[in-house]
């Protein structure tokens, strides 16, 4: 079964990554990152059972905490940008280039 779970996690990770690439709304982009983290968690949990130790699950906890903190910071940044530009599109922020 581990393989199944891993393939699923891989798919979710790739979908998340693709979402980051094609979505313009910063919030959605960020959601995609969250999806990727979730995919990681799935892998950790699967491996935990595969390897017969609980470390994977512990790591998954940490990932959740880290994700939560990241979400806070990230959303704060997005909000700030939105206030300034009235837009949450990541494409609109491209003054810095070349």
């Amino acid at each position: 079964m581990t393989t199944h779970y891993l393939v699923l996690s891989g798919l979710l990770f790739a979908i998340g990554a693709m979402g980051v690439l094609i979505r313009r709304n910063a919030i959605v982009v960020f959601m995609c990152v969250e999806l990727m983290l979730n995919a990681c968690n799935l892998a950790f949990v699967a491996f935990a059972r595969q390897n017969g130790n609980l470390e994977g699950q512990i790591i998954a906890f940490f990932v959740m905490v880290v994700a939560a903190a990241e979400v806070v910071v990230g959303l704060a940044i997005i909000v700030t940008i939105f206030r300034t530009r009235r837009s949450a599109s990541v494409d609109d922020a491209n003054l810095l280039k070349y």
Binding site: L21, V29, V90, D91, N94, L96, Y98
Partner: protein
């Protein structure tokens, strides 16, 4: 045939040991005059003359000491100092050949110095002129006295420098500046030959010193190829310095210099350095009847004709004389190519030519002095009454050069012709022809200048030159009268020189009634007569008539310049332009292009940095995929 005597390393003191003073005096003079500059304006010319005379005195004393020695000891090498350690030591070779030259150089040189006091009296830069003259004398003495090829070469280039400076003495005239440069550069072509010749000498014989060379050749007779190459290369050098075909073109232009320069450098001494070189190297590299020796003669014969033809067409008195110089040196070369049999005559002609040609040039200078520096003979005429001394001396020189019997030129030139007819008949008869032409153009010159109606410019007031100028003329004309006979009759010169240059198989005899001699005289007479018809009796037009093809050919210096222009200068210019273009656009262009290419790459590549976070994310994902792919690939290998 016998080789020259061995060179003895000079040990005792005496005049020979002090012979370096010969060079040192004029060198010192030049240095003082150049360094002190304007401070010496008042007495500079006197110092110059004094130094030249001092050198002459040393030369005479050395000469006396040499002739006091037994013949086999007359070659003395004086070691001066270590020049290039392990390769060349600087030293002097005092032998009959070099001392003859030294006497000529210092003697005629001193006379010309004295003459110049008067000739240059109005020039504000007279002091500089004398410094150059002194420099020239020093260099020329080094050339002839050095006991090795490097020393010779230093002198060789030194006289080239002095010549350059003196031709360009009036450098503010563009023509003078160009002429000076041309002289130097054409000479350098010859120097190239001399230089490469030295390479081969050193490579073959491991020495550049005459004494060692003699020993080497005596011990290991050299193979043909290298010697031929050396000979031809030295000949190239000689051609440059002596204005022989094909490097003759500079000499006519060199007449831009003050007339004493033309007399000293471009007639009496420097231009004969080529002959000296051939004769000096003769024992080593120009065995009689070898390819290179014949080449020397051929060059000589060709040049003597060319010079003569050019001389016929010139209205400029100095250029006419320059043509004649070429021609006379051609005779010397012709003689020098004949081996020891011709050496004495060649050197003899060289010495007598030194006198009579200096005489002629100075005479011409005297004429110009009196004619507001006019050089066009068509604007002379009838001057013999106005400057009698000049006329007389000039006339003596004239007679000497055309080979009027019993005058200097007669003996030496006839000697060469006879020897040539004997050894190389074709060349000999060409020389005879040349003598006839000489008779024509020299007569033409004399007639146009001193005879006929006066054709002067309005403001010309011809007058005799001051004594300081006429005295040297008189002394020189004495030489022109008698020196030839003294040297040639009873083979005085031949025997004097033979320790230095070797002896011929048969001791040459001067024959007053040889066929060639008589034919020569006849031709000369015909030439002179023709000249009388054309220029003595008939009126000389003030503007040169167009003349035939041959005249144009001669006036254009046988198209020598045109040939140089189309063969070397134009292609050279194109090459230069191409090279400059190639350097800027090609090599530098490549470098700049590379830089621009990197810059351009940068300019394009930075567009990848679009500023869109999503593109960056894409590159990260791609990178991740590549990294993973590569690692999986590497891991599975």
């Amino acid at each position: 045939m016998e080789s020259p005597a061995e060179i003895v390393q000079h040990t005792a003191g005496g005049m020979i040991g002090a012979s370096w003073l010969m060079i040192a005096f004029p060198l010192l003079g030049a240095a003082i005059l150049l360094i002190l500059g304007r401070m010496t304006n008042r007495w500079g010319h006197l110092l110059g003359v004094a130094m030249s005379l001092a050198s002459f005195v040393v030369a005479v004393l050395t000469f006396l000491e040499i002739i006091g020695l037994p013949a086999e000891q007359r070659r003395q090498a004086v070691h001066l100092y270590e020049f290039i350690p392990g390769m060349v030591d600087m030293g002097l070779l005092i032998d009959p050949l070099s001392i003859s030259f030294a006497l000529l150089i210092t003697g005629v040189g001193s006379l010309i110095h004295i003459y110049s006091i008067g000739y240059m009296s109005h020039d504000p830069e007279r002091r500089r002129f004398f410094s150059y003259l002194n420099l020239f004398v020093a260099a020329m003495l080094l050339l002839v006295l050095a006991d090795n090829y490097v020393g010779l070469f230093i002198g060789w280039e030194g006289v080239g420098l002095a010549s350059y400076l003196l031709i360009g003495f009036w450098q503010f005239k563009p023509s003078a500046a160009v002429a000076a440069k041309k002289a130097f550069i054409v000479n350098r072509v010859g120097d190239f030959g001399l230089l490469v010749g030295m390479f081969i000498i050193l490579a073959t014989f491991h020495t550049l010193t005459f004494s060692e060379l003699g020993k080497q050749i005596a011990e290991h007779p050299p193979s043909g190829g290298a010697v031929t190459a050396i000979g031809l290369l030295l000949l190239l050098g000689a051609c440059g310095k002596s204005a022989q075909l094909p490097l003759q073109s500079w000499l006519l232009d060199a007449m831009e210099g003050p007339t004493p320069v033309s007399a000293l450098i471009h007639a009496a001494t420097m231009v004969t350095a080529g002959v000296y070189l051939v004769v000096r190297s003769g024992a080593f590299f120009f065995p009689p009847d070898s390819t290179q020796a014949i080449a020397v003669s051929v060059v000589g014969a060709a040049t003597l004709l060319a010079g003569a033809i050019i001389g016929c067409a010139k209205d400029d008195i100095k250029k006419g004389l320059a043509g004649s110089t070429m021609s006379q040196i051609g005779y010397m070369m012709l003689g020098a190519g004949l081996g020891p049999a011709g050496y004495a005559f060649a050197i003899g002609h060289l010495i007598t030519h030194g006198f009579f040609k200096a005489d002629l040039f100075l005479g011409a200078g005297s004429v110009m002095h009196g004619m507001n520096d006019e050089v066009n003979m068509r604007k002379y005429g009838g001057l013999r009454k106005h400057m009698p001394i000049t006329f007389a001396t000039f006339f003596i020189g004239y007679l000497a050069i055309i080979g009027f019997p019993l005058l200097s030129g007669y003996f030496t030139k006839d000697g060469i012709i006879e020897t040539a007819v004997h050894h190389q008949p074709i060349l000999g008869w060409l020389a005879v022809l040349g003598a006839g032409i000489t008779g024509f153009y020299m007569s033409r010159m004399v007639f146009m200048t001193f005879f006929g109606e006066k054709r002067w410019e309005k403001d010309a007031h011809p007058h005799e030159s001051p004594a300081v100028m006429t005295w040297p003329l008189m002394i020189l004309s004495i030489g022109a009268l008698f020196l030839g006979g003294y040297l040639i009759l009873s083979n005085r010169l031949y025997f004097f020189l033979s320790p230095a240059v070797g002896t011929a198989e048969a001791t040459p005899e001067f024959d007053f009634a040889s066929t060639a001699g008589l034919v020569t005289l006849a031709l000369v007479a015909v030439g002179a007569g023709f000249a009388w018809v054309r220029y003595g009796r008939a009126e000389v037009p003030a503007v040169a008539p167009r003349g035939s093809f041959l005249t144009t050919f001669a006036r254009r210096d046988l198209y020598g310049d045109a040939l140089n222009e189309s063969l070397f200068m134009r292609p050279g210019q194109w090459l230069t332009r191409f090279a400059v273009y190639f350097d800027n656009r090609g090599i530098d262009g490549l470098v700049n292009g590379l830089a621009a290419g990197i810059g351009g790459t940068s300019g394009r590549l930075r567009r990848i940095q679009t500023g869109f976070a999503r593109s960056y994310a894409l590159s990260i994902l791609f990178g991740a995929a590549l990294l993973a792919g590569a690692l999986l690939l590497v891991g599975n290998i």
